[in-house]
Every structure is written in structure tokens, then in C-alpha cells.
Amino acid sequence: MENLYIPARERSPEVDFRYQENHLALRGEAFPEDAAAFFGPILKELAAHCEAVRGQELLVEFQLEYFNTSSAKALMNMIQLLEASARGGTRVVLRWAFQKDDEVMREFGEDFATELEHVDFQLVPV
């Protein structure tokens, strides 16, 4: 699969999906005007990549400063995809990075972690 790179914009995060390296990252703020339009294609690619790397290693990095509830749903969708993938035998590491004094983002990380049983979840203060 071609790598996917979308630069950060004022309302949407940087998407840096390096499929060849099995390293996917999402960084910045997320409150796009139309969350479904922004995240829909990304989710589709993520699902296809999860299928393609079955049994391999996959490192996913989220470093978000803010996201609205529409984006939170899309993130939850991604996290559920990753969990399903890990359950199917892929070794998935999800690194949730947050500013060390940002309790809101830390708590969101903990929230999402409750969904994960097979993914290696790492909460990383930066």
C-alpha cells in the first residue's frame, strides 16, 4: 500500500501512515467540520492495512492535543479495529502520547485503554 500522508491543518491532525514500516501516527488537533468525511477514508485504509499485516507487528502512535466528540467516535473506531486485529494475531502496540500536564488527554487515553485486551497499550507522557 502507498504511504498515506496528510499534513496537519488548523482543525485536523497530521496523518502519517507509513505502511512499509508498519508505523502509523496521528498528531495534532481534531475537530474537522465533517468528521465522517475526514476520518472515513483513513479508517478504510487502516482496515485494509490491518488485514494486510495479519501476524506481523504494527506500531500506532496517537499524539493528540484536542479532539471533539465526532472525532472521538472515529478514534474509537480505529481503536476497535486495532483490537480486532490484535485478537487475530497481529502484534499491535498503541502508544498514546500526551503532554504531561494534560489530564484531559491522559484520561482519554485511559478511557480508550479499557477497550483493549490484546493490544499492547502504552500511555506516554511527553
Binding site: 467540520e33 484536542y66 471533539n68 466528540t69 465526532s70 467516535k73 489530564e103 484531559v104 484520561e107
Partner: protein, 183 residues
Amino acid sequence: MLAADHYRMKLENKQRGIIFSFNGFISEGILFALGKALKRKLSVDEVNAGTMKRVFSVFVEQAQNIIRYSAETLVKDDLVDSRISSGLITVGREDGRFYVGCGNVMHRVDARPLQDRLEKLRGLDAAGIKAFYLERIRDTVESTSMGASLGLIEIARRASEPIQYDFLEIDDMTTFYCMKVFI
């Protein structure tokens, strides 16, 4: 006279601790611009990052609720980003605490279900609100709803006390609704 009227308005807002108050048609573009100005103002005032984030989050969810659910809305060619909707939104500070307030006209039939959701949230403590958020985000990922119920829970989560709200029946078809949220 013109200046006196406007100056009185400005002074009244200042006395009530209002940082800004918007009344009229709001679009996603206006939401973004107001949000940016709000962040800048709070950052100049050296408001701590956590409080700033909470104020900003409540502001975004309230503004998006107006855009999506106000009964006074105009949308061109069914395009989400062309939608403009009428409402009011205020950010201010009272006794050292920030608040975000909003109001808009809604269809009367939707008022009761909204009131039920707000009452349910008022009855929950912080742990209950958090659990409810997780339950809703799990269940609604597949739904076609634009997310208002989760938005309300997010607002309640960022508030330091139960959400204050009120309804005013305007006529058979419409109700004015407002809320005030202390951070």
C-alpha cells in the same frame, strides 16, 4: 445616542464578566474563528492549560449543537459545511469561574427528549458521567446520529457542577432552549 447605546451594551457585558457574546447565524467557519480568538484571549490571561482546554471543548460542542440542531437553520445543496444556524453563545467569568452559555430555538417535539438527557446527566456524579460517556461512544460509533448525545456528555464531563438549563415555549411548534455550564 448611537455611541451611548453601544457603549452601554459593552459596559453591561463587561460588568457581567463576558469575554465574548455572539448572537446570530453561526457557521463552522465562525466557530473556528471564535474558538481561535477565545484560545488567544485565555492564553494572554495566563489561564492554565487544563482550564483552557475544558472551556474550549464546551464551546466547540455547544457551537456545533447550535449549527446542527437549531430550528433556525439554512443549508445549501445539503452540504454540511454550508450550514448556518441561528443561536447565541457566550463565554464569561463569574466569581473567578469560567462559564460557557448557549441558546437556540428548537422544534418543540425535541425538547422533552433533550430535557430527559440533561436531567439524566444532572443526576450523575463524575464517575457516572465518565462511564456513560464510554457506554455511548461504544454504542454510537456505527450510528448515523451527528453526535449530540455524546456532545452533551462531553459538556457535562468538563463542567465543575451540574449543567444549568431552561426551556421557554414560544409557540405550538417551537421552544427556546438554553444552558449555562460552569467550568
